[in-house]
């Protein structure tokens, strides 16, 4: 089922006298239950695209639909509600609340969700049952990212957007994180979008959207995606 439909998405910034185009007319569709990797080099526009799809930013032109609802016409409140109930975010630098424990960071997300998942099983799933009462500064990078994932999943969103989720992690930890994302996608039939410049990660995706200079260079389907354990870089 179509989850996100993007038509001719353009994003331009005015920098003094100059207009810079981050996206020059991007078209794609996302479906429930698929894991998509958006692949591109620095400056290709991939983060801009995810920000727009996640309701954190607006396109300058083009149409964007979530389950046929026009997001490009949504006001600030509607965008907040969209992020609140439909989207989960995971960042490269985790962005956890430093003065909330692991458990409380997840609770923060649960308290605003309409149909949240239970925290304890989630903690178990991300392997942090025994670290619930720890503050972020007491956790390793991988553990912090797992808390961030649990926090994003706890809202039970239809779409999980991950911006370089393994960017600051070593290989084994990165693999663990990718496995969690794949599990979520399959177990709950939710769409997961991973943004990365790392081509190796794209081998575990169902589909790969390649971005270059603000345009979709191509969309590839992986008939047999690799399991996360086999991905390496």
């Amino acid at each position: 089922m179509e989850l996100i439909v993007a038509r001719n998405i353009v994003k331009r910034y005015r920098m003094g006298e100059v207009t810079v185009y981050a996206l020059k007319g991007v078209d794609f569709t996302l479906y429930d239950g698929e894991l998509v990797v958006v692949l591109g080099h620095s400056g290709s526009g991939k983060s801009t695209l995810v920000n727009i799809v996640g309701g954190m930013d607006r396109a300058s032109e083009g149409e964007l639909y979530f389950r046929e609802q026009p997001l490009h016409r949504a006001n600030e409140t509607e965008l907040t509600n969209y992020r609140r109930s439909q989207v989960g975010f995971i960042f490269q630098f985790y962005n956890l609340m430093p003065n909330l424990t692991a458990y409380e960071n997840i609770e923060l997300s649960v308290q605003i969700a309409e149909d949240p998942l239970q925290i304890d099983p989630l903690m178990e799933q991300v392997g942090l049952s025994d670290r619930q009462e720890h503050f972020p500064s007491q956790l390793s990078g991988g553990e912090q990212q797992r808390v961030a994932i649990a926090r994003a999943l706890a809202k039970n969103p239809h779409l999980l957007l991950c911006d370089e989720p393994t960017g600051s992690l070593d290989l084994p930890t990165g693999q663990q994180i990718l496995k969690l994302l794949r599990d979520f996608c399959e177990r709950y039939n939710k769409a997961v979008v991973i943004i990365t410049h790392n081509t190796n990660i794209s081998y575990m995706a169902d589909r790969v959207i390649c971005l270059k200079d603000g345009l979709v260079e191509g969309i590839k389907e992986n008939p047999e995606p690799l399991t996360p354990e086999k991905v390496s870089w």
């Binding site: 983060s47 801009t48 920000n51 996640g54 954190m56 930013d57 409140t77 907040t80 509600n81 969209y82 992020r83 609140r84 109930s85 989207v87 975010f89 960042f91 630098f93 962005n95 956890l96 609340m97 430093p98 003065n99 909330l100 424990t101 409380e104 609770e107 923060l108 997300s109 308290q111 605003i112 503050f135 972020p136 500064s137 007491q138 926090r151 809202k155």
Partner: protein
């Protein structure tokens, strides 16, 4: 280049810098304007005293032959002594509703170097023996008099026409109060008139060749008390009422206090504002340096030395200090003139204006720069310690910690996640928490004290006229008279329902080596028109068991209930030494400083028979407090009766005047409404403090935690939900700050009362419930307003920008 960086940094965080700047401008404006105004006033006072030969000592007598003055002039230590005749007379006016009095002060026209000489502002010299006067400028203006116009007064049992030939002021009446129960001069009802001594003797034949008032200057280096000891035995026989130094002279006391108060305010208030601004700046710079540690690392890596880096960050503080100092100083110079003019409205002194004061402008700027240099240095000291490599590494992660408060289970369960975040932040940034706490506390207490002061003026005046002196009118006699005769006469009048006698005589009370000259009031034990009240508001009935003293008088004499004190009075028939009386009760008295005794007890002590110096009256058609309409007609009725009474005794030998309590209350109320508006200035001070603190702290928190807050927004929280983390923190502190602000206000009130109370009035120390509510309310509103400004910033948080980079 770094200069540009500073300007852009400041521009990027302009809200906080503006808050800081407003405080500096406010502080420096007060400093400059109050300093200039107090200089002007003080300069004018000193010049005036010197030019007009202002007396060092004052003496009131019943009467003394004028010829004895020569002998007094021989007393060692006296430079010059003048004898005068002073009398209060009533101004007659066909249409007037209120009683108007003039204090006549005689001038020896033959003497070119009079002590307490009047300064002629406008008009011509007085002529010997002519019925001509100079009147004080305020009286002249208020009554729209013209030179050459006649004023009719009742003097020496006769109506007299006095021709106004000039407008004059004297250092003795810079703040002319008719009685000690007044706080503001009221030129509507009271003025000073200077008249030739010969004319005075013509008007009051019983005083011919006599004087009842001595003023003297002393030789340099002579101690007043020694001089007093030499003078007193010489004049005691003439019915010495009072002998006091310049320091206790009403006008001088108030003028001096005003100058001192202006000087105190000119340093205390600005210091408070500048300290708060410096604290805000310190916190902002500290934050800026932490935030820009990477940039500092790069600068150092480029080869900038510590001094240059330091200077760069100090320039933020110096910019605020310089701009604020200059603007505040210039604004202060601009405000100084109207402020001085306002002071000259209260004090009858020659107007001296110092316009542009480079001295205060420069001094203000230096003070401001010095304070900010210190705050700036403290704020950016951290930048010096950073090594380039260390600076370019990200800072150690912020650690989280549960607070001990969370160990209280029910409290912890009550808290939302945002609440927990807020509470933990309090512990994380202790210095900021303390700063917020102190600021809110100060703001709250400033408002409470200001509001209380406003209530207090109410209390000072209305308490006296609505609770204590509840009579409708008062008939003042020209001299003590047998009370039964006058009482009978007054009771016979149709409208009068109750008449009570009143004695007011000057006495000297002493206890050990302490002595005070005060007015002793004699009131009937069954009085219903003069209600002495204790601190609980309960009536205290004057009895033969002893004298009732006001708190301040008791304090000055160092006596308590049951103490024995000596009482002397010039009115005593046989001058057989002082009489011992017991202190029966001590009562609060806000206006004046009196002693009270049962009227028959005074008869016994004075031994002049049953006399009175005034009578208090109530009229019929009494008011019904439940019916507003009746009350109005009641008031009108009283006014009508007062006027009837005034007409009736228009030319009476015995009646000096008739005062309506209602009209006095109304006059004072009108006067106070004008002055009461000043209170809003102080409330504004409280609001500005609270606003600046909350506003800037919100901004600092926002810049410090924008990443956290943006993450919350990305999670789908509304701006309001995100902002609640900050507001929760502020409200949480505000509960404690306001709770602490109220006792602090009480302490400030005690200090203020000690500082400001004089023999003329004492400042009650209790805070009214309304003031407490206003303090808490205004602080809360300031917090709300500041938050609503900060909220805009949360709405405008750029999620993409904030989350893109590593902190």
């Amino acid at each position: 280049m770094l200069w540009k960086k500073m300007v852009r940094d400041i521009w990027g965080n302009k809200g906080s810098y503006v808050a800081c700047l407003v405080l500096v401008i406010f502080g420096l404006m007060i400093f400059t304007s109050f300093s200039i105004a107090s200089d002007n006033l003080s300069l004018s006072q000193k010049d005036f005293y010197r030019q007009q030969n202002f007396a060092h000592g004052f003496t009131e007598l019943i009467s003394m032959p004028y010829g004895n003055l020569g002998r007094l002039n021989q007393i060692k230590g006296i430079d010059k002594i003048d004898g005068r005749v002073t009398k209060e007379v009533r101004v007659t006016q066909p249409e007037g509703d209120t009683a108007i009095y003039l204090q006549l002060v005689s001038l020896d026209l033959a003497d070119p170097e009079r002590v307490n000489d009047a300064k002629l502002l406008n008009g011509i010299e007085l002529r010997e023996g002519e019925f001509e006067i100079w009147v004080d400028n305020q009286f002249f203006e208020t009554h729209r008099l013209e030179l050459g116009q006649n004023v009719e007064v009742v003097a020496g049992n006769k109506a007299r026409e006095l021709k106004v030939e000039g407008v004059a002021i004297s250092p003795e009446f810079t703040y002319p109060l008719r009685t000690e129960k007044e706080i503001y001069p009221n030129p509507e009802q009271f003025g000073i008139a200077y008249i030739c001594r010969e004319t005075m003797w013509n008007m009051f034949p019983e005083m011919r060749g006599q004087v009842n008032d001595l003023v003297f200057t002393k030789e340099p280096g002579i101690d007043f008390d020694e001089l007093k000891d030499r003078l007193e035995p010489e004049i005691e026989q003439y019915g010495l009422i009072n002998l006091f130094s310049r320091e206790n002279q009403t006008s001088h006391l108030i003028l001096d206090e005003e100058v001192a108060q202006l000087q105190r305010m000119s340093s205390a208030l600005p210091l408070m504002f500048l300290s708060i601004a410096a604290l805000i700046l310190y916190i902002m710079l500290k934050r800026l340096v932490e935030q820009q540690r990477g940039q500092i690392g790069i600068l150092k890596a480029f080869g900038y030395n510590n001094r240059e880096v330091m200077l760069h960050y100090l320039s933020y503080a110096l910019a605020v200090g310089a701009v604020g100092g200059l603007l505040g100083g210039l604004l202060g110079i601009y405000v100084a003139k109207p402020l001085t003019a306002l002071l000259f409205m209260f004090f009858h002194v020659p107007e001296v204006y110092e316009g542009f004061s480079l001295y205060y402008l420069a001094l203000g700027l230096i003070i401001s720069l010095a304070i900010f240099l210190l705050a700036g240095y403290q704020g950016c000291r951290y930048a010096l310690q950073l090594k380039p490599a260390e600076a370019m590494r990200p800072p150690a992660p912020i650690s989280g910690k549960k607070l001990f408060l969370e160990k209280i289970r029910f409290l912890s369960e009550m808290l939302t996640i945002q609440g927990k975040m807020a509470i933990r932040n309090l512990g994380r940034n202790r210095s900021r928490t303390v700063f917020l706490f102190l600021g809110m506390m100060l703001s709250c207490s400033v408002v409470v004290v200001t509001w209380s002061l406003n209530d207090l003026v109410d209390k000072l005046v209305f308490y006296q006229f609505e609770e204590v002196e509840t009579y409708h009118a008062r008939v003042n006699l020209t001299e003590p008279a047998f009370r039964s005769t006058v009482q009978r006469e007054l009771s016979r009048l149709d409208e009068v329902t109750r008449v009570e006698p009143l004695i007011e005589i000057p006495v000297r009370l002493s206890h050990a080596w302490r002595e005070e000259n005060v007015l002793l009031l004699g009131i009937a034990g069954d009085s219903m028109l003069y209600n002495i009240r204790d601190s609980e508001g309960q009536r205290v009935i004057p009895s033969d068991r002893g004298v009732i003293l006001s708190e301040r008088l008791a304090e000055k004499l160092d006596v308590s209930t049951g103490s024995l004190i000596e009482l002397e009075s010039p009115y005593k028939r046989n001058n057989d030494g002082p009489q011992m009386v017991e202190v029966y009760r001590i009562i609060p008295q806000y206006l004046g400083m009196n002693a009270y005794l049962e009227i028959r007890e005074i008869d016994q002590i004075i031994d002049q028979g049953d006399f009175a110096t005034a009578f208090m009256l109530n009229f019929g058609g009494n008011l019904n407090p439940d019916e507003n309409e009746l009350e109005i007609s009641g008031e009108e009725q009283i006014q009508k009766n007062v006027k009837l009474l005034r007409d009736l005794y228009h030319e009476s030998e015995l009646v000096a005047g008739v005062d309506g309590t209602e009209e006095r209350g109304r006059e004072i109320r009108d006067l106070m409404e004008t002055f009461g508006s000043l209170i809003y200035l102080y409330v504004l001070v409280g609001v500005v403090i609270a606003f600046a603190i909350i506003y800037s702290s919100s901004f600092i928190i926002l810049s410090e935690r924008n990443r956290e807050l943006a993450s919350m927004k990305v999670l789908g929280m509304t701006s309001r939900e995100v902002f609640s983390v900050i507001t929760f923190e502020q409200w949480f502190i505000s509960i404690f700050a306001i709770s602490a602000g109220l006792p602090l206000a009480q302490v400030m009130m005690f200090a203020l009362s000690r500082e400001l109370s004089t023999d003329l009035y004492s400042i009650p120390t209790e805070l009214s419930g309304q003031a407490l509510l206003m303090g808490a309310g205004i602080t809360a509103v300031s917090i709300l307003i500041a938050q609503s400004f900060a909220m805009r910033k949360v709405r405008g948080l750029d999620l993409v920008e904030v989350l893109k980079t590593r902190e």
